[in-house]
Symmetry: C2
Subunit: 249 residues, 2 copies
């Protein structure tokens, strides 16, 4: 069975990270049994080091930096770090399961993965700062300890004002509208990046939509606008078809 390492929050489903949702959805999309092992942010480094996982980045002092998602697959004895590497591992290891990379090509989805962060970028601080009061104390303290000195201010001071939020969401909406034109080029009724075939590109999008939904709140006016009004409801409709892969195991 696959173990997915994820950061817990106070939210009912615990998971909240957009990047870790990518791996979570990819495993479920492949229909593979898995369980989650929850790791507070302060414990990721020591835990992943002990597990023998690859670091994903380098700290300013040159030491290896460990981030999630990481998976451990006891069927192969392998640890894989970083969401795209995990998706590629699952595709290569379980080729008989539904394909995350249809047509056997990887570049279009790598391009999507490179492009997509810029779409969300204007709203990133809105979404990420909304999680402050939803994190468990050890993770919140870790973020304060590592981020506040870098930013020169307290987390609470990074939360945009209501007016700033409106501006940042409007800029995000404009970027989504460009992505809508890209999806729309496939033709009416074709919901996915590859037309009628869902792929890891759509899961990258869905992971971020779930993260945005948890951030602004499922019952909020913002989520209603994003999922039902932006781009003729494209994003809410697309997410509905993929939400079955949003599972905690």
């Amino acid at each position: 069975m696959i173990t997915l390492y994820d950061i817990p929050s106070k939210l009912p489903g615990k998971a909240f990270s957009n990047n870790i949702f990518k791996a979570r959805l990819a495993i479920a999309f492949k229909g593979l049994p898995f369980k989650t092992e929850w790791v507070e942010m302060c414990d990721i480094g020591p835990k992943m080091k002990a597990l023998g996982a690859d670091p994903t980045q380098t700290n300013p002092d040159g030491s290896p930096k460990y981030t999630l998602p990481v998976i451990y697959d006891d069927a192969t004895g392998k640890c894989v770090s970083e969401s795209m590497k995990i998706a590629e591992y699952l595709e290569a290891t379980y080729p008989d399961k539904p394909s995350l990379f249809p047509f056997g090509t990887y570049a279009p989805i790598h391009l999507f993965n490179e492009y997509f962060p810029d779409v969300v970028q204007p709203g990133f601080i809105v979404f990420v700062s909304a999680f402050t009061d939803k994190l468990n104390p050890p993770t919140l303290e870790y973020i304060r300890r590592t981020r506040e000195p870098l930013m020169g201010k307290k987390l609470e001071e990074m939360i945009p004002s209501p007016e700033e939020k409106v501006t940042l969401l409007a800029a995000t909406k404009e970027n989504f509208s460009k992505l809508d034109a890209i999806y729309a080029s496939n033709g009416a009724g074709k919901m996915y990046f590859f037309g009628n075939i869902p792929s890891y590109a759509d899961l990258i999008l869905a992971a971020n939509l779930i993260w945005i939904m948890l951030s602004v709140g499922m019952e909020s006016n913002e989520w209603n606008a994003i999922s039902n009004e932006w781009d003729g409801g494209r994003w809410g409709t697309l997410l509905k078809t993929l939400e079955k892969y949003n599972v905690n195991q």
Copy 2:
């Protein structure tokens, strides 16, 4: 037969515009007979209006703006403006010819078309300003008349210094290196965006490589570096396989 409207230069092959090369390559890729009708930049508006072509943009004063490429297809009596629309028209009208959009999906290539300008953006002023002394007088005068007042300086003053060129090319190289990682994700020996299958995405890239080659000069150290050294020679190798579509007819 298809007529392609293109802007001539003093270069041996006359064509120089990256955007018009996209259409030129797409028509040749489809194996369709065509002829070029050369239009100096100052004549594009009146000529395209008379032809009944769609404008592609709007001038600041609200009037329609006409740009090339435009094609006229006498087999269907249709005029099509704008490179992506031309590619889609060719695909829909000549589906039995080699496919510009393999797998029947359009979004991956639309994404590529949206992403690619940012790759070249740092070097854009280097490449575009190198054409100043290669343009015919009517087009050069038109550009001076329309661009210099907007920029508040003469074309010659927009040419980057040798030091600036080095910096701008280094930034362009860095962006190409990200694109290299995207292409490389398909695996060793897979040259194209869709692996072994060339598509309109690769033609967008080739059109820009030809434009860069004409700008810096085929025999220059810069082109040698870009085509043979950047990213292990990926771009020069890719262009070589597609250069047969770079035809003047």
